[in-house]
């Protein structure tokens, strides 16, 4: 029986600062064919995401059959990192303006903060994304060489770089498009859930560096851990696009939003982010989750206690992570 390390990301606390993205990038993907890769990124929703249009790129499961998917294109869908004229622009008097040396048409954060809706009811929120270390990974099933495996001890999904031959069936099969092809190495690469850190009891770089204290990490069967409490007990964290059928192990506390304004400029009872939009991402349970969160906020505002909100507030950074790999099932120390 695989034990599963999992993550909950509270979207109400994500401010889109990309500290997670940079923590990941500087640690794992800063060069050698990985320039375009963001194992972790934060996209603005509604938006096209990264890679562009990933939701429509196919992959995932239709029952027990893999759905076909397409390969994202480096320039058009991921975006080629531009180089800038630093030499000319930064070190001389009357220097030309700093600008990119190539025309830029798309990049990983191209539609940041664009969102949707009309003034005064425009809206957007941030959605950090990384490999979901799925319980039923489509990438693993798609590989004819069994180069992708899931670790027994923590459920982390990894690509064996020795076995990978760069066929890219996994890239097409992942419905979240969280496997990348490194065209220099000729192999598929992906988020490794920072397993070398995890093995030392240190949380993932993206989670540990999160300035908003938005990310909780624990084993799913650890009843004292945040995942059990937020996903199973209080039921306020949901997987993204569960309909893809891969059973993700990254969960999201969906975003609350301020009310819309009516024609007179008065706030209504309707939240800015349309319920239907959130349902498209997090499924029909999102309505109950938002109601539960609002109720807990009301409790807290009325001076009552809310262990749920206290956990989400995360008063102590260290309490957000329970990585003890030696702990017994359901009773991690």
């Amino acid at each position: 029986m695989t034990r599963q390390l999992a993550m909950v990301i509270d979207l109400n606390k994500c401010i889109g600062c990309q500290t997670c993205t940079l923590a990941c990038k500087s640690q794992w993907t800063d060069r050698k064919g990985r320039e375009f890769m963001y194992w972790n990124h934060v996209e603005t929703r509604p938006g096209q995401g990264y890679p562009k249009g990933w939701e429509e790129a196919g992959g995932g499961w239709d029952g027990d059959v893999l759905k076909p998917g397409r390969l994202p294109r480096l320039r058009e869908d991921y975006g080629i990192p531009a180089s800038f004229n630093y030499e000319q622009a930064l070190f001389h008097e009357n220097a030309p303006a700093l600008k990119s040396e190539q025309p830029m048409q798309w990049g990983p954060n191209w539609d940041e903060d664009q969102g949707a809706g009309e003034y005064p009811n425009g809206y957007f929120f941030y959605l950090p994304r990384l490999c979901n270390h799925c319980t039923n990974p489509a990438c693993r099933a798609a590989c004819p060489r069994q180069a992708i495996y899931k670790r027994e001890e923590d459920g982390i999904v990894l690509v064996d770089q020795e076995r990978c031959r760069g066929y890219r069936y996994c890239v097409a099969a992942c419905p979240y498009k969280k496997i990348y092809f490194n065209p220099l190495a000729g192999k598929a690469e992906k988020c490794i859930f920072c397993y070398p850190r995890v093995e030392k009891g240190v949380p993932q770089a993206c989670a540990f560096q999160c300035v908003g204290r938005a990310r909780h990490v624990a084993f799913r069967d650890d009843r004292e851990g945040a995942i059990w409490k937020l996903v199973e007990e209080w039921k306020v964290a949901l997987p993204l696009k569960a309909g893809f059928g891969t059973q993700p192990n990254v969960f999201y506390v969906p975003p609350l939003s301020p009310p819309t304004f009516d024609a007179e400029g008065k706030p209504t009872q309707v939240p800015r982010i349309p319920d239907a939009y959130l349902e498209g991402l997090f499924g029909p349970a999102v309505h109950e989750v938002l109601a539960r969160l609002n109720a807990e906020i009301a409790r807290k505002q009325a001076g009552q206690t809310s262990p749920l909100l206290d956990m989400l507030i995360a008063f102590r950074h260290g309490n957000m992570f329970r990585l003890d790999r030696l702990g017994e099932k359901g009773n991690a120390a």
Partner: protein, 343 residues
């Protein structure tokens, strides 16, 4: 005693020599060609030394046994030409095949594939048995040289699907030329493992423009390369002749296939697609007759490593889903003759 054994084997050779020359038989069946021996191996596809090698015409068939393959796209076989030159244990092979457009390995793209070609080598077993064409078998390994346009060549070995592994040592040299819609590539290197005077060779080609990689390829059947002046073990030779010929009656074989309901599990020429067993519509072009005979006689003697072809849908059962048929030797030969006609 030793002298007596030597005399005996000499007697056997003489005995066989009176029958048809086994190599001639295999050449006659289109399964064998001689390498030309040269003093220096060329790397340039335009080198005049290639004139010394007789052209070997082979058809490369779409891979249709495992998914993703090419057959489902209705791909047609492609005509290839091979020329083989030898210098001691060094071999140079020139492959030519039509390809309308050049596709190179691109480091600025994540969705493109390079035109590629590979040579697969195997040694016949002591009984003249050759490995399964797709990456060999657990106890019948194959060696491979891989060329991908714009990428370093690779030296690999395999003993079944999914076992392909890079090998240490000097990489094969490669040179390539694309001209008027035809690739001409040359691969040279040391003959893999302990090659005797006879080497089985097959070629595979991938069209980058058609997302070719892995099983999405065309491949030839085994072709035997002989080396002039080299002495071949007579037991191996007679085994190869036995494996490479099919004296049966293909018409009777076809009737037998109908009687036994083969089309219930296999796609046969003109038949409906069915995926329980491997597609056989091109079996005669893709496979060495010896493999077809082994599969007809003893379906579990080698399991094509695809779960759905195995009992319980699981390869670990070690048994083919195909039942053992109660066939006479003549039935087997007729079925093999029928299978061999499918190309």
């Amino acid at each position: 005693m030793i002298r007596l054994a030597a005399l005996l084997s000499l007697a056997l050779c003489v005995g066989e020599a009176q029958a048809a020359d086994p190599l001639e038989v295999l050449r006659g069946e289109g399964y064998a060609s001689a390498a030309a021996v040269v003093k220096a191996l060329p790397i340039d596809p335009k080198d005049s030394a290639w004139e010394k090698a007789a052209p070997i015409s082979l058809l490369a068939y779409p891979q249709s046994t495992v998914k993703p393959g090419l057959a489902e796209d209705g791909a047609a076989p492609l005509k290839m030409e091979l020329r083989v030159l030898a210098k001691g244990r060094e071999l140079a092979v020139r492959l030519s095949w039509p390809d309308a457009a050049i596709e190179s390995w691109r480091t600025d793209r994540t969705d493109s594939f390079a035109d590629s070609a590979a040579l697969q080598f195997a040694l016949p077993g002591r009984e003249g048995t050759l490995p399964y064409i797709g990456m060999g078998e657990p106890d019948r390994p194959v060696d491979l040289w891989l060329w991908r346009n714009g990428r370093e060549t690779e030296k690999l070995s395999a003993h079944g699907f999914g076992t392909l592994e890079r090998q240490p040592g000097k990489l094969p040299d490669g040179d390539a030329l694309w001209e008027n819609g035809t690739w001409q590539i040359v691969l040279t290197g040391t003959i893999p493992n302990k090659a005797g005077p006879l080497l089985a060779l097959s070629a595979a080609i991938w069209n980058g423009g058609d997302a070719g990689r892995d099983g999405r390829k065309r491949h030839t059947a085994w072709h035997l390369i002989t080396f002039p002046g080299a002495r071949t073990n007579s037991k191996v030779l007679s085994g190869l002749v036995k494996e490479g010929t099919a004296s049966g009656n293909p018409e009777r074989g076809k009737n037998l296939a109908e009687e036994h309901g083969c089309s219930g599990c296999h796609r046969l020429p003109g038949g409906e697609p069915v995926e329980t067993g491997p597609d056989l519509t091109l079996a005669g072009g893709q496979h060495w007759p010896g493999y077809l005979r082994r599969s007809v006689k003893r379906p579990s003697s080698f399991l094509v490593p695809v779960d759905r072809f195995a009992e319980e849908g699981n390869l670990t059962s070690g048994k083919s889903l195909m039942p053992s048929l109660d066939l006479s030797d003549q039935d087997v030969e007729d079925l093999v003759a029928y299978l061999r006609s499918m190309k």
